[in-house]
Symmetry: C2
Subunit: 543 residues, 2 copies
């Protein structure tokens, strides 16, 4: 990969101009989007109200957002201005704005990866480098809360062409790159030097490091490598007309306030991340993957406890899912079941260490305890990389299988580990009592009915992905689920968004996890960094 020289004069000047131009006192919600995505016709062009729609256009959420009348429409002159800076080839605009596109040509930018959120933007900016990004960029494509799509007709600025590695410090492991680099590409690049990214998630093939940082993404290695707040060394951010250039390679720096932290998880509402410096970690010389079948969630907890004792320093991931998730992933993807029998729960364990002999001894000791104590009913260990991949595919294929075969109400919750699965059972019971769910009866396509209530997640982090899958989205169903799920979570001092953020889906749910004082403080911060409110409006904070 080529290393690039970065100048920021232009980036800054255009941003400053934009702030001055009244026409642009509107959202430059710029969204990094990946193309090649099933196109769904847009039916929301000039909408003034935004009822978060499902990809089937059934009303999924009850949130209604009103378009802010102080934000103006993009004009033909604006487009000429963008063209003068970025070049015609790096702009997609609709015909009424002088471009070549139909509105549907922009679907892959207007619709999120899980196609739950639809926007109606007529302009996509695709800068190719920071020298060229002379506008308000922003980005993403795989986010789960709709933070990444316009709510109305805001301009989309897509960072996918800003995808260059800038530097790698081999001594410290500091990797410096553009924000638009795809996570998996970074990992492949680092692999050559026996390094790896401190973050990994199912969407790695499409999500950008800038998006990861902006959502404070967690994922399957969080247990081992912890939060991005610890591993991000520096950011280059465009905020309030100035560039905050802090592309530090240093592990330690205590000079003044740690500004970068505030952009981590800000979902593009405080600034546009254009560059990232992150601490790559040593790639484990030896990796093992095992899958267990277990009879109860209590056994899952016990297995986790044993793993902490025996696998301790080599434990990379400890993921779990239930029987419904297993069924869904296996049957949708036509994956092979590693077990000849079904279990109530499954656990995937990954270890990584520097000595294969030691690692195997530790793993066998762990499995031995788990099996002899009757905690694991069954278990398999992958014999090679292909088998490892196959086991991981089952876990990582869950979301897609749920999304593509039903209409899932998805919740990403932090819950004290001991109570993690209680909410699945409680929601089930509630829905059975309400007469909308019956585990024994198969779904009726014509009547809105729940077909599955299931859960999977990152057990070591206390992070449950709860899914209430319906045959179609319907208000009559939602009312049984929300705000129940949020209230339940709030009661156990959990979080209504563990790792997916707030986006457009949940600003009104912030209150279940954060106090009014904290929300007020967040609003003050928003005002400090984005006084005109033009960065990703309507998102994150309640209006």
């Amino acid at each position: 990969m080529k290393f690039k020289h970065h100048q920021h004069g232009k980036l800054q000047s255009l941003f400053a101009q934009m702030l001055k131009k009244p026409t642009q006192t509107r959202l430059f919600s710029a969204i990094i989007q990946k193309q090649g995505y099933p196109k769904t016709p847009l039916n929301t062009t000039n909408k003034q109200d935004y009822c978060l729609p499902s990809f089937r256009n059934q009303k999924r959420y009850s949130t209604t957002v009103k378009k802010n009348p102080s934000f103006k429409q993009v004009s033909v002159e604006d487009i000429s201005f963008f063209e003068s800076v970025l070049g015609k080839q790096n702009i997609l605009a609709t015909k009424d704005l002088g471009g070549d596109c139909e509105l549907t040509d922009l679907d892959s930018y207007n619709i999120s990866w899980i196609p739950e959120f639809h926007g109606a933007s007529k302009v996509v900016l695709l800068p190719t480098s920071a020298t060229q990004v002379t506008v308000v960029p922003q980005g993403g494509n795989s986010g789960a809360q709709g933070g990444c799509v316009p709510v109305f007709d805001e301009i989309i600025l897509c960072l996918s062409k800003m995808n260059q590695i800038r530097d790698l410090d081999h001594d410290s492991g500091a990797l410096l790159c553009d924000a638009g680099c795809i996570l998996e590409n970074l990992n492949n690049y680092l692999g050559q030097y026996n390094l790896t990214m401190p973050i990994d998630l199912g969407a790695k093939g499409s999500c950008h490091i800038g998006g990861n940082i902006s959502t404070n993404a967690g994922g399957v290695r969080y247990l081992k490598y912890g939060s991005l707040h610890g591993s991000v060394l520096g950011l280059e951010v465009l905020s309030d007309g100035t560039i905050i250039n802090n592309m530090s390679k240093l592990r330690k720096d205590s000079t003044g306030y740690d500004l970068k932290q505030i952009f981590i998880g800000a979902e593009g509402t405080l600034g546009i991340v254009t560059g990232v410096s992150i601490l790559a970690v040593q790639k484990p010389a030896f990796v093992n993957v095992a899958m267990l079948g277990l009879n109860s969630f209590d056994d899952v907890l016990k297995a986790f406890k044993y793993s902490k004792n025996h696998l301790s320093e080599i434990l990379l991931a400890f993921e779990f899912w239930d029987a419904d998730c297993m069924k869904s992933s296996l049957s949708f993807h036509k994956f092979q079941n590693p077990f000849s029998q079904n279990y109530s729960f499954y656990v995937l364990i990954e270890t990584g260490g520097s000595n294969s002999h030691h690692d195997e001894q530790k793993l066998y000791k762990f499995l031995d305890e788990a099996m002899t104590k009757g905690v694991a009913a069954n278990g398999v260990i992958a014999q090679d990389f292909t088998q490892q991949k196959k086991l991981w595919n089952i876990r990582e294929g869950i979301i897609e299988s749920l999304v593509k075969t039903g209409s899932p109400y998805k919740y990403d919750l932090s819950i004290p580990i001991g109570k993690l699965y209680d909410i699945v059972n409680d929601v089930k019971e509630r829905l059975v009592n309400a007469g909308v769910y019956n585990e024994k009866v198969s779904s009726n396509e014509h009547k809105p009915l729940i077909t599955s209530v299931n859960g999977f997640g990152h057990i070591g982090d206390g992070n449950l992905h709860l899914n209430v899958v319906a045959n179609k989205f319907d208000k009559s169903l939602s009312q049984h689920i929300e705000p129940y799920v949020f209230e339940w979570t709030s009661k156990v001092h959990g979080s209504v968004s563990a790792e997916h953020g707030i986006g457009i889906a949940k600003p009104n749910c912030l209150k279940y996890t954060k106090s009014p004082e904290m929300i007020d403080m967040m609003k003050k911060i928003k005002k400090t960094f984005d006084p005109n409110g033009i960065l990703n409006p309507y998102k994150v904070l309640p209006q």
Copy 2:
């Protein structure tokens, strides 16, 4: 330890009252201080200018701070007001304010642990619980940049009586406690449950967890457990008259902006940390400590590389120091030298793992490579806990030995690892050329002369503690060292404060590591959180 119930009504109301009372529109710089400390007479009572003095009252820094005339004097009425809230027994005040103290009785609060910084406060508030802390507290005692002592006569609020553990979540390891808990006490408490703090440093016996968080302290386990930005789960902070209560036990929470991050490393200038939730880590079942003698810094770097390969996941600490540091620590503390010969450099390695047999095998493999390749000239492995402690004492005794036997100009620098020791050699050369340093000639007490230029630090983090030790502080010497050291560091894109913060010693040095845009942004944040500028004024940001 007792668990406490916390109410915050009072805490908030007094703070709000203070903000309203004009008399209190002054610094409530409240400082957590540990007592039992050598008392040095204060000679700075009514000073209006503050030239950072050394504990020998020679002018050490060139920074001069003018007292802000808008801050008023504390009155007798203020004291009565404090008494009505905290009780007479929890306030120390001088006789002119109606108290029982001479000014010298407050020396242990007015002078920092390394007695380089002197304040002249007449009031110390010692709240015993958050219900009682109805004022603007702040704290610390071991900080290295003078952030912890008043500059003029600001009120000191000492959190040392707020030292209760609130809760420990055994599943997740979340420890909730008052900010005034001493780090070592927390560690001892956790030890009972096979847990340990993710931070460790030489001042553990006196520093508070609130102080650690406020300085974003690093220390000797940073290499393994990383930054406090990753391990702090939640904070309770009193800022701008409101309590930000975010004592979360959750590992993951992506609901809105992560406010706690901004207080980590803010050195008490944005809010008072009163409560802390931090992720304790599993205590390694087996610990090994080894010390190496090496002939060059290049060998130190090679040894570090080998340790990453062989010790990898069990490496807890990798510390180094040079011959001068060794000599100083051994002779001042009368420690026994584990080697019969002297070396140019020393390395201390600590490992921690879950299987003693595996750990030892890894350590021997590492030592084998280091010795056979001639990288380590000598090495010892501690055979029991007492020997481990003895090896650690040598490393941890360095600072005290330097401070107590000379006048050290101390610098805490982040530098790319490969160049880490170059600055020591460059500074030496510079001082030799200036005729103020000659390694071969012993010091002359009457003439200001450099007696040693040395370095030690946390090699894995690229963190060097550079010390230029003089027989006395003198401006004629400083000019040869500053700004040279800062400029040198800036040139290699290092940080002029890796882990000690800025305090009162370095606001004017911020510019060597942070851009004007970033400093402006910091000022905006200060204004957002502390609009009246009453929290630890004169500190961190340049005026």
